[in-house]
C-alpha cells in the first residue's frame, strides 16, 4: 500500500477545509472555523490499487505562510484552490504555484487548479474561461471547478492529483531503469545518448498511463459555460447543506459530471 502526501493550498476563506472534509468524511462544514493546520488520512482505491492518503489542510492567512516551505517540501501532490467569488484568491495562487515549483525544483509537480464555490452563481467574479486560461498558462495543469457544498468534482480533484503522482513515479522508475540499462550497455557513452534512451522509453511506457486516467475526463466533452452554470443548483436556505447521507451524495455525483471542466 502506497502512502501519498497531499497538500491543499490557497488564500484564506476559499474553502480548502470544506473541500477536504467533504472528500474525507463526506461532510459539509458550515462554521466560522479558520484552519491553522489540519491533517487527515483516507484510504482510496484507484484502478484496483489501494492508496493511503495523508492530506494536509493548511491555513490561508498569510501570517502562517512561513510554514508553507515546510509543507511544500514534504508534500507530493498539491491542490491549489481559489474561490470563484474572489479575484484576489486567484492572483495569490500565481505566486504559490511558482513557489511550489521552485522549492520542489522541478517543472513537473503533481498539482491541480481548483476553482471552488462554483455554486455561488450570483457572487461569481471569475469565469470558467478565466480558470481555463490560467491552467493553460501553467502548462495545462488540470483544472476543475468544484462545489464543496454540493460535493461536485470533489473526489475528482483528489483522484487526479494521486494519478499524477503515480504517473510521475512510474516515469521516474522508467528513467532510472533506462539509466541503469544504458550504463550497463554502454558505460562509456556520455549524457547525450542516455537522455535519448530515457525519453523514448518514457513516451512508450508512459503513454498508456497517461491515456488511462485521462480517458474519463477526455470523453466528457467540455460543455459550454452556460450549461455548466444552469446545471448548478443554487445554494438556498432549503439546500441540504449539512446532509451527508450517502444517497444524496450519490445522486449529486451523477449530476456533477455535467460540471466537469477538464483538459
Amino acid at each position: 500500500m502506497r502512502d501519498y502526501k497531499l497538500v491543499v493550498l490557497g488564500a484564506g476563506g476559499v474553502g480548502k477545509s470544506c473541500l477536504t472534509v467533504q472528500f474525507v468524511q463526506g461532510v459539509y462544514l458550515d462554521t466560522y472555523d479558520p484552519t491553522i493546520e489540519d491533517s487527515y488520512r483516507k484510504t482510496i482505491e484507484i484502478d484496483n490499487k489501494v492508496f493511503d492518503l495523508e492530506i494536509l489542510d493548511t491555513a490561508g492567512v498569510a501570517q502562517f505562510t512561513a510554514m508553507r516551505e515546510l509543507y511544500i517540501k514534504s508534500g507530493m501532490g498539491f491542490l491549489l484552490v481559489y474561490s470563484v467569488t474572489d479575484q484576489r484568491s486567484l492572483d495569490e495562487l500565481m505566486e504559490l504555484r511558482e513557489q511550489v515549483l521552485r522549492i520542489k525544483d522541478s517543472d513537473k509537480v503533481p498539482m491541480v487548479l481548483v476553482g471552488n464555490k462554483a455554486d455561488l452563481t450570483d457572487e461569481r467574479v471569475i469565469s470558467v474561461e478565466d480558470g481555463i486560461e490560467i491552467s493553460s498558462k501553467w502548462g495545462k495543469v488540470p483544472f476543475y471547478e468544484t462545489s464543496a457544498l454540493l460535493r461536485s468534482n470533489v473526489d475528482e480533484v483528489f483522484v487526479d492529483v494521486v494519478r499524477q503522482i503515480i504517473r510521475n513515479e512510474m516515469e521516474n522508475v522508467v528513467k532510472s531503469d533506462a539509466r541503469n540499462q544504458s550504463t550497463k550497455s554502454s558505460p562509456s557513452t556520455s549524457v547525450g545518448p542516455n537522455g535519448n534512451i530515457a525519453s523514448t522509453e518514457n513516451s512508450k511506457k508512459s503513454s498508456p498511463t497517461t491515456d488511462k486516467p485521462r480517458s474519463k475526463p477526455l470523453n466528457t466533452s467540455r460543455r459550454p459555460t452556460e450549461t455548466v452554470k444552469t446545471t448548478l443548483p443554487k445554494r438556498s436556505t432549503n439546500s441540504p447543506g449539512k446532509s451527508s447521507s450517502p444517497v444524496s451524495s450519490k445522486q449529486k455525483k451523477k449530476k456533477k459530471r455535467n460540471l466537469c471542466v477538464i483538459f
Binding site: D33, V61, A66, Q99, D122
Partner: protein, 1083 residues
C-alpha cells in the same frame, strides 16, 4: 624642456586667481583660438586649427569659419548663439565634463596639455598654444568643464556635511543624548575599565583578528550638539575617548541585524573602507578623536543599548550628524536633490552541500551562512547540522547607496579554530533587481579556492525596491492636503489600482498606506474607512441573498478570512504595535514549551502502534500536558488584557461598533470577526511559529512544532467558541477546556473592545509606557530621516504613496497609453539602468514629459521653478507651522473635496518633478548662468583646484572627508603671493624632482582619482570662511542679493520657467540638447 628659469619668468607671466576668474567670467567657460593639436602622441601629426570650447562643453574644430585673430567678446557671443556658424565646424569632443587635464611638456615655457575624455578617459588629445595668455584662457576653460560631471545619475553623488552640524556653528555645545550602554571598542589602558566577558564578541564584524586590546565594556555615551560623541567611564565620569560622527557617512551608521549578536538593539559605527573605495572617498581620516586618532587599524565600534527604543533614538540622532548621501547638481537648490532608497530583502531558504569535502567524515558537519557587504558580515543564519541545511531566514537591508556586491558565504563550523568557508555566491546590484531572483532560485555555489568547482547549490530569494526620494520640503503641501482629503475616495483609488495592476503586491500597497496614514495621524479614520468599505460590499450580497431567500451563512463564515487591504494592514499594524506585548506576555511560556520538548500528541494515528500498545495511557498523559500548556497561555493572555496596547484596543472597539451596525444581534458573527483579527492574525501566528517573530533562534523540531500547532488550534477554537467535532474527532476531548473557559473568553473580548470596563491591573512593563527624551533632541534631528518610532522612512513612504495615487489617476483618465507608462516608468525597478545610460532614458522621458506637461496647471510653478523652490525652502519652517496650526478639525465637505482633488494633483506634480530630476541628473552636468557670473563661486572653485607631482589637475569639490598628502593647491593661500599659481607651470619641475615647500594643503580635501568614478564634495576646512559655504548657500546668497523682491517676481519668472520647460522637452525630443542646457536656471 630646455627652457631656462630666467626665460620662463620673462615669457610666462604668472597665472593668478584673478586671471582664472576673469577668464571664466569673460568667456563664460568658453574658448576660441588657434591651437596646435594631435590625437595620439606617437604619430605626431600635429595640425593647427581654430578650436572652440562651446557653451555646451564641447570641443569643436571651427577652422574655416572664424579667424582667431579677430576674436573678441562680441564675436564670441555671436558664434555661440548663431547656429549656422557653430555648425560649420566638427565636434572633436562632445562633452568635456569630467575630462582629465595633465601638463606634460614645455616648449617655449608653455606646457603641452594632455586632455583625457570619454567615459573611461580613453580618448586623448594633445594641445599646444603659442601665446601664454591664450594658454591660460584655454586652461581656465578646460578646468571649468572638468569640474562638471559626466552623465549618469550616480555620478552626481554629493556628500555635504549634514544640515544638523551647520545649524550649530557658534552656539554653545550642549549634551543632546546621554545613555548608559555597552561598547565594543578598544580598551583604554590604565583606566579602571570593567571588561564584560559574557557578551558574544562580534568577530564577524571585524576583519582584524588580533582583537586582544578590544572588548565589551560598560560606558556612558554622550552625544553633543557639535556632532561628537564622548564615551565616559560609568563610575567616575572620566573621558575614555571621543569620536566625531560628522566624519562618517550615513551608510556607516548601521543597525545590526538580530542574528549577529542575538540582540536587536545594537548599532555599528565606523569607517567602511571598501565602501569608501567604491565612492572614491579617502579613508585616511578616521573618526576617532584625541590620542586614538589614526592609530587604529579598524576604526569601528559597536554600541549595545539597553532598550530597543534607545537604539532607535540614537540611530536617528547619530545619523542626523553624519554625512548624507545625496544626488544633486552644482549650485542647485537643496530641494532639488534626490536620495536613493535601495531596499532589499535576502531570503536564504536552504542549501545542498552534499559535494562538500569533509575533513572528518565521521562527524556530522554543521553549516551556517553569512551575508556580507563591504567586507563585513551583516547577517547570519543559525548553524544547522545537515548537508542539506534548511534555514528559511530573511534579512532586510535598507541602503542609501548602490551596493556593488553582496556575498553569501557558506561557512562550515569547525570545532577548534576558525570556521571554514566552503562556498560563495556573489550578488550584484543588477541581480538584486532581477525579477528572476524574486522567486526561490537555486544558485550554484563555488569553492573559494577553486572558482570553477561547484560544491553545491543554495536556494535564495530576493525582494528589492529602489526609489528616489525628494527632500522633505517638497512634501509639505502633499501632507497638508492629505490631512483633510477624503479617505473613502483614496480607498477607492487604492482598490482600483490593485484591481487593475496585478503586478502590485497587496502587502506592499497595504504597508505604504499604513505608514503614510500612521505618520500623518489619520490611521484610525483609515481603518474605519477600510472596515466600512469591506463590510458594505458584503452587506450588498447579504441583502441580495435575503431578497432571493438564500442563505448568507457562507458569507458570514468567511468574513475577514481572506487577504485584503484591510486584513493585511491590520496584521502589520497589530504586530508593529504589539510585538513587545506579545514577547513579554507569552514569549516566556513559548520558550518554556520549546525547551520542555515533550510530546503533546493526541492523534492516535500519529503515535506509533508500539508505543500505543505498551503505554495505553500515553494519549491521556499527552492531553493532560497539552491542556496544562494551553491553560497557562490562556491565563497569560486573559490576565494581561489591560496591557494589550491601547492602539489595538481602540481599533478593536471601533471594529466591533462597525460590525454591530451590519450584523446587529448576531453575537456569534461579531465574536468570530473579532477573533478572526485578534487571535487568527495576532496571537496564533506567534504561537505557531515563534521563530518567525524572533522569539526563538532556531526552527522548531517536529515534536515542538506539533505541540505548538495543537496549542494554537485549541486557542483558535476557544476564541470562536467552536467545539471540535467531526473534522478531527481526536480533538473532541479538548472541548471541555473550551466549554470551561467560555465565560472568560466573552469577558476578555468585552474588555479588549471596551464593552466592559477593564479593572485588571497592568502587569507588564512595556516600553510604550516610557516617555522618550525628545525635548532637546528634536531641533537637531534631520527631518529627512526615518520617523524614530518604528523607524519608518516617512518620505520614502510618501513617495510610494504618490506613485500609487498617480497610478489611480492614470487609470481614471485613460486617455492614452502614454500616460500609463508614467507610473511604470517611475517605479524604478531596474536601478542599474541609471548607472550609465542617459540616452535611452532621455528619449522615453521626453515623450512623457511633453504629454504630461499639458495636464499641469498653475500649481506647477510652485513646484517647478527653481526660483520658487528656493522660495519654498526659505519658508520651510513657516510652512510646517502653518500646516499644523491650520489643520481643520471639522472640514466642510467642500474643503474635503477640494483637498482630495489637490492631493491627486499634487501627487502627479511630485511624480513629474521626480521624473524631471532623475532625467536632469542622469544627463551631463551644465553650469548655470548665475554661477558663470559669480565671483564668489569661482574663487571657491579655484581653491578646489589641485595638482599632483606629475602635474595632473584635480578638482576637489569642497569636502571634509579626506586630506590628500600628495596634492597641491593651484592657488596656494599659504604662500606670500597667494593668488598666483606659479608652481604648476614651473617647467623646472618637469624633471621629476619636484619639490614643493610647505604648501601642502592643510585642509582636508577629496581627490578625484578617475574620471569615470564618483567624487565627492563637502565642506572644507573651517579655517577658510568662504569654503565653508556650500554651493547651495552661495546660490541662495546670490539670489537674495540680486533680487530683492522675490515674491514680486514670482509669477513672471514662473511663467518663463514653464515655457522653458516646454521648449526644453521639445528640444530634447529632437535630440538636440543644446537649447535645453540651462533649463533649470534660466530666467
Amino acid at each position: 624642456m630646455n627652457t631656462s628659469t630666467d626665460n620662463r619668468n620673462d615669457q610666462m607671466r604668472p597665472f593668478s586667481l584673478n586671471d582664472f576668474r576673469g577668464n571664466i567670467i569673460k568667456m563664460k567657460g568658453r574658448f576660441i583660438g588657434k591651437v596646435r593639436w594631435c590625437r595620439e602622441q606617437s604619430p605626431q601629426i600635429w595640425q593647427t586649427d581654430c578650436l572652440e570650447i562651446t557653451s555646451a562643453g564641447a570641443l569643436k574644430n571651427v577652422n574655416n569659419s572664424v579667424d582667431s585673430v579677430s576674436m573678441d567678446n562680441t564675436v564670441m557671443s555671436s558664434t555661440s548663439t548663431n547656429d549656422a556658424s557653430s555648425s560649420s565646424g566638427y565636434i572633436m569632443v562632445a562633452h568635456l565634463q569630467q575630462c582629465t587635464i595633465k601638463l606634460i611638456r614645455w616648449e617655449n615655457s608653455i606646457p603641452t596639455c594632455e586632455l583625457g575624455f570619454g567615459e573611461s578617459g580613453t580618448g586623448k588629445i594633445y594641445t599646444q598654444l603659442s601665446d601664454a595668455s591664450k594658454f591660460y584662457e584655454f586652461f581656465s576653460a578646460l578646468t571649468w568643464w572638468s569640474s562638471y560631471r559626466a552623465k549618469g545619475l550616480f555620478n552626481k553623488l554629493t556628500l555635504n556635511k549634514s544640515e544638523c552640524v551647520k545649524q550649530q556653528s557658534g552656539e554653545k555645545i550642549a549634551n543632546l543624548l546621554v545613555c548608559q550602554l555597552n561598547v565594543f571598542g578598544p580598551i583604554v589602558r590604565n583606566k579602571n575599565i570593567q571588561i564584560i566577558d559574557n557578551l558574544e564578541k562580534p568577530d564577524l564584524l571585524f576583519k582584524e583578528k588580533n582583537m586582544e586590546a578590544w572588548g565589551w565594556f560598560p560606558s556612558m555615551g554622550v552625544l553633543k550638539s557639535n556632532g561628537t560623541m564622548d564615551f565616559l567611564l560609568q563610575n567616575d565620569g572620566t573621558l575614555l575617548y571621543s569620536v566625531d560622527i560628522t566624519k562618517l557617512l550615513r551608510s556607516e551608521i548601521r543597525a545590526l541585524d538580530y542574528s549577529l549578536l542575538m540582540n536587536d538593539s545594537c548599532l555599528f559605527l565606523g569607517i567602511l573602507s571598501s565602501l569608501r573605495n567604491q565612492l572614491s572617498v579617502s579613508t585616511e581620516n578616521g573618526f576617532f578623536l584625541g590620542y586614538l586618532k589614526n592609530r587604529l587599524a579598524d576604526e569601528q565600534l559597536i554600541l549595545r543599548f539597553p532598550l530597543k527604543i534607545d537604539q532607535e533614538d540614537w540611530f536617528i540622532a547619530l545619523k542626523s550628524f553624519a554625512i548624507p548621501e545625496r544626488f544633486s547638481l552644482i549650485a542647485s537648490d537643496s530641494s532639488n536633490s534626490l536620495r536613493l532608497s535601495n531596499k532589499f530583502d535576502i531570503g536564504i531558504l536552504e542549501a545542498d552541500l552534499e559535494a562538500v569535502e569533509l575533513d572528518a567524515p565521521n562527524e556530522k558537519p554543521a553549516f551556517y551562512s553569512l551575508v556580507s557587504m563591504w567586507d563585513h558580515a551583516w547577517a547570519k543564519t543559525p548553524i544547522i547540522s545537515n548537508t542539506k541545511p534548511f534555514w528559511r531566514e530573511e534579512f532586510n537591508f535598507h541602503e542609501s547607496l548602490l551596493v556593488e556586491s553582496i556575498y553569501i558565504q557558506i561557512m562550515q563550523k569547525v570545532r577548534r579554530g576558525m570556521d571554514k568557508m566552503v562556498g560563495l555566491v556573489k550578488i550584484t546590484q543588477a541581480m538584486l533587481s532581477d525579477p528572476v531572483f524574486q522567486k526561490e532560485t537555486r544558485v550554484p555555489l563555488y569553492l573559494t579556492s577553486n572558482p570553477s568547482f561547484q560544491v553545491g547549490t543554495i536556494c535564495i530569494k530576493i525582494n528589492s525596491t529602489a526609489n528616489f526620494v525628494l527632500p522633505p520640503t517638497n512634501y509639505a503641501k502633499l501632507e497638508r492636503f492629505l490631512s483633510i482629503a477624503s479617505l473613502p475616495k483614496i480607498a477607492n483609488d487604492v482598490y482600483k489600482v490593485l484591481e487593475v495592476n496585478h503586478s502590485l503586491k497587496l502587502e506592499e500597497v497595504s504597508s505604504t498606506c499604513l505608514d503614510v496614514f500612521q505618520l500623518n495621524e489619520r490611521l484610525d479614520e483609515w481603518f474605519q474607512t477600510l472596515i466600512e468599505r469591506e463590510l458594505s460590499t458584503i452587506n450588498k450580497s447579504i441583502y441580495k441573498n435575503s431578497h432571493k431567500n438564500l442563505t448568507s451563512s457562507h458569507i458570514y463564515n468567511s468574513l475577514f478570512r481572506g487577504n485584503s487591504i484591510m486584513t493585511k494592514t491590520t496584521e502589520k499594524y497589530f504586530f508593529r504595535i504589539g510585538n513587545e506585548y506579545l514577547n513579554k506576555s507569552i514569549g516566556a511560556i513559548l520558550r518554556e514549551i520549546i525547551d520542555d520538548g515533550k510530546s503533546c500528541e493526541i492523534d492516535p494515528s500519529r503515535i506509533s502502534k508500539e508505543v500505543l500498545s505498551t503505554d495505553s495511557s500515553i494519549i491521556k498523559q499527552n492531553r493532560k500536558r497539552l491542556i496544562t500548556w494551553v491553560k497557562k497561555i490562556w491565563k497569560l493572555i486573559y490576565s494581561t488584557s489591560n496591557d494589550l496596547p491601547p492602539e489595538i484596543r481602540s481599533y478593536l472597539k471601533s471594529f466591533r461598533m462597525s460590525l454591530e451596525k451590519v450584523c446587529a444581534g448576531d453575537e456569534s458573527t461579531i465574536l468570530n470577526c473579532i477573533s478572526g483579527i485578534l487571535f487568527l492574525r495576532f496571537f496564533c501566528p506567534v504561537i505557531l511559529n515563534p521563530k518567525l517573530f524572533k522569539f526563538t533562534e532556531h526552527h522548531l523540531n517536529d515534536t515542538t512544532r506539533r505541540t505548538l500547532t495543537l496549542l494554537s488550534k485549541t486557542l483558535m477554537n476557544l476564541s470562536t467558541l467552536t467545539l471540535f467535532g467531526k473534522k478531527e474527532p481526536w480533538m473532541i476531548d479538548i472541548n471541555s477546556f473550551i466549554e470551561g473557559h467560555k465565560s472568560e473568553l466573552l469577558t476578555y473580548v468585552d474588555r479588549v473592545t471596551d464593552r466592559k470596563l477593564d479593572f485588571s491591573t497592568k502587569t507588564l512593563k512595556l516600553q510604550s509606557g516610557i516617555t522618550r527624551p525628545k525635548l532637546l533632541m528634536s531641533n537637531f534631528l534631520s527631518k529627512e530621516l526615518q520617523s524614530s518610532s518604528y523607524l519608518i522612512d516617512k518620505y520614502l513612504k510618501e513617495t510610494e504613496f504618490i506613485y500609487l495615487l498617480n497610478m489611480a489617476d492614470n487609470i481614471s483618465h485613460k486617455n492614452s497609453d502614454n500616460q500609463n507608462c508614467i507610473s511604470q516608468d517611475l517605479s524604478i525597478n531596474d536601478i542599474t539602468s541609471f548607472l550609465k545610460n542617459a540616452s535611452s532614458l532621455d528619449q522615453k522621458n521626453a515623450q512623457i514629459g511633453e504629454l504630461e506637461f499639458e495636464k499641469l496647471t498653475e500649481n506647477n510653478t510652485e513646484i517647478f521653478g527653481k526660483d520658487l523652490l528656493q522660495y519654498l525652502v526659505l519658508n520651510d519652517i513657516e510652512d510646517d507651522e502653518a500646516g499644523k496650526n491650520s489643520r481643520i478639525l471639522d472640514p466642510t465637505s467642500d474643503e474635503v473635496e477640494y483637498s482630495t482633488k489637490q492631493l491627486l494633483q499634487e501627487s502627479s506634480l511630485l511624480c513629474y518633478k521626480l521624473q524631471r530630476l532623475i532625467k536632469v541628473l542622469s544627463d551631463y552636468e551644465y553650469p548655470s548662468e548665475v554661477i558663470l557670473r559669480d565671483e564668489a563661486y569661482l574663487s571657491l572653485l579655484a581653491k578646489q583646484i589641485y595638482f599632483t607631482k606629475d602635474k595632473r589637475i584635480y578638482i576637489c569639490r569642497n569636502n571634509s572627508l579626506t586630506s590628500p598628502k600628495e596634492y597641491f593647491n593651484l592657488f596656494d593661500s599659504s604662500l606670500p603671493n597667494q593668488d598666483v599659481a606659479p608652481l604648476l607651470f614651473d617647467s623646472s619641475s618637469d624633471s621629476g624632482n619636484f619639490s614643493i615647500p610647505s604648501s601642502r594643503c592643510s585642509g582636508s580635501e577629496n581627490v578625484r582619482t578617475d574620471g569615470s568614478k564618483n567624487y565627492i564634495s563637502g565642506n572644507s576646512n573651517p579655517s577658510r570662511s568662504l569654503s565653508r559655504l556650500t554651493s547651495t548657500k552661495i546660490s541662495r546668497f546670490i539670489r537674495v542679493g540680486s533680487s530683492n523682491n522675490i515674491k514680486g517676481q514670482l509669477k513672471q519668472k514662473s511663467d518663463g520657467v514653464r515655457k522653458e520647460d516646454y521648449a526644453d522637452s521639445r528640444t530634447v525630443n529632437n535630440t538636440s540638447r543644446k537649447s535645453g542646457m540651462f533649463w533649470f536656471m534660466r530666467k
